[in-house]
Amino acid sequence: MRNLSLGKPDMSLIVAKGLGVSFNGRLVLDRVDFIISKGEIVTLVGPNGSGKTTLIRALLGIVKAHSGHIEQQPGLRIGYVPQKLAIDATMPMTVARFLALPSRQPKDQIGAVMARVGAENLEAQQMSSLSGGQFQRVLLARALLGKPDILMLDEATQGLDQQGIAAFYQLIEAVRTEIGCAILLVSHDLHVVMSTSDRVVCLNGHVCCEGSPKVVSQAPEYRELFGIGSGGVLALYRHEHDHNHDHPHNHVPRD
């Protein structure tokens, strides 16, 4: 625990060391080390089935690891933003009621947070009637109301277009600057990440590589690729794998 090279021990919010998780005899996570420190932005990338979700679930304590251990800073407040909720039209739920989970917050605070995420005047609406973008913002608002030390976002940008993703990243970045929380972003996009990520961790059962993203240049072809107005919030991540696998999997995007 004390000899981890990344982050000072007293600054680390969550430290996982040598994590191993298997389901029905299949090894999903193998000797995974993970650390996130105060105020840090970490992007976790990996192809489908690479164990990203399992790692998050292990960090949250839902999945039990068969080896290794996880340490959370005592009293750590986690704001979790899921990809979707397990409710459909069968559960009536207004935005206001949802924001009161797990505990009711003062009205002025709700108003301030909703304004901050750009979701004003939605409180009376049903969750099921929100658009994809509104829904994401409401999920984010609920997580922020708990004044988190760390914000975890699981594929939060899925279903948004490039401009929507850029806008969402800008929002996350602004929120981080304001409240100083650490951010753990999970993404299946292996190559385009949030440019302010301090670290990108590429996972595929084990940690394949780790590094910082390259800021997207202002070259026209990049501007075209990422859409006008992304404002430099997107960046490329170059994978540098120092090892080969004896099993086939690819790190190239599937076009």
């Binding site: 389901f23 029905n24 069968t90 559960m91 739920m93 505990s103 699981d154």
Partner: protein, 262 residues
């Protein structure tokens, strides 16, 4: 004009709705209808066990239903094909129970009553039991409400705020087993599922929050109970099924009314 036994029957149905309303809402939200049926069917095996070991039928059905519920919940955890596993468990427990009951010596058991309830023979002691247990369930659900609701919405959000979803699932399984044990006398093993699902489904159209849906489900359940008891007396029909028919009619009506409100 109404006899005591009819009033007791109606009161039993009202008492039961206090538990089946909110519990039924969770059954719908979590898509546990088949799971609820499995626990209900296991009650027949519970009756056989109670007779064989000469223990109270309430305790026997509660234990067996809870046990089968735990078994079923365990299978749903590992993401195996839930549907078929529940089907196997559900009908095996029912059939095994029916076979076992036939072997219990000297038992004078009215199978019809076990399967479809015998609400007209509810005694004052039964009535006290139904109300006490239903109020207990209602209190349990109220106490765990936020945790249950959060765990239903997202296991991850629940974990992030320190709520253990597995424990909340256990609370629901236990509550279901208790409700099944207490309602065997009222609507029977085959129709408990209906009393869980139909009032809550009917309440959906009138509700803007989970709490309202649970509350309105209680009202609809109680109305169906009283309506079913009266209707069965008037048209001389079996009472348990009559209650379910009234509930189904309320559901159909709710579909039209709820549509008008939009």
């Amino acid at each position: 004009m109404f006899d005591d036994f009819l009033i007791r029957a109606a009161l039993a149905a009202i008492g039961l709705s206090l538990a089946t309303g909110p519990l039924g809402a969770f059954v719908i939200w979590r898509k546990m209808a088949y799971f609820g049926d499995t626990i209900a069917h296991a009650a027949i095996l519970g009756v056989a066990v109670s007779l064989a070991f000469s223990i109270s039928i309430f305790v026997g059905t509660l234990l067996v239903s809870f046990g089968v519920g735990l078994l079923a919940a365990n299978f749903t955890d590992t993401r195996r094909s839930m549907d078929s596993i529940l089907g196997v468990l559900s009908y095996s427990a029912l059939a095994l129970g029916l076979v076992a009951i036939s072997f219990v010596k000297g038992a004078n058991i009215d199978l019809n009553a076990l399967l479809f309830g015998d609400i007209l023979t509810v005694t004052k002691a039964n009535l006290v039991q139904v109300w006490a247990v239903s109020l207990l369930i209602l209190a349990l659900l109220a106490w765990r409400w936020t945790s249950l609701l959060t765990a239903t919405l997202s296991e991850e959000i629940a974990a992030s705020v320190g709520i253990n979803s597995a424990r909340e699932r256990l609370v629901l399984t236990l509550a279901l087993a208790i409700v099944v044990a207490v309602s065997l006398k009222v609507v029977g093993a085959m129709l408990i599922g209906a009393m869980l699902i139909i009032p809550a489904a009917a309440a959906r159209g009138f509700s803007r929050s989970p709490e309202k849906m649970a509350g309105i489900a209680i009202v609809i359940g109680a109305f169906s109970g009283v309506g079913g008891v009266i209707a069965s007396a008037v048209i001389d029909a079996p009472t348990g099924p009559s209650i379910v028919v009234v509930a189904a009619m309320v559901f159909v009506a709710s579909q039209f009314v709820a549509r008008d409100q939009k």
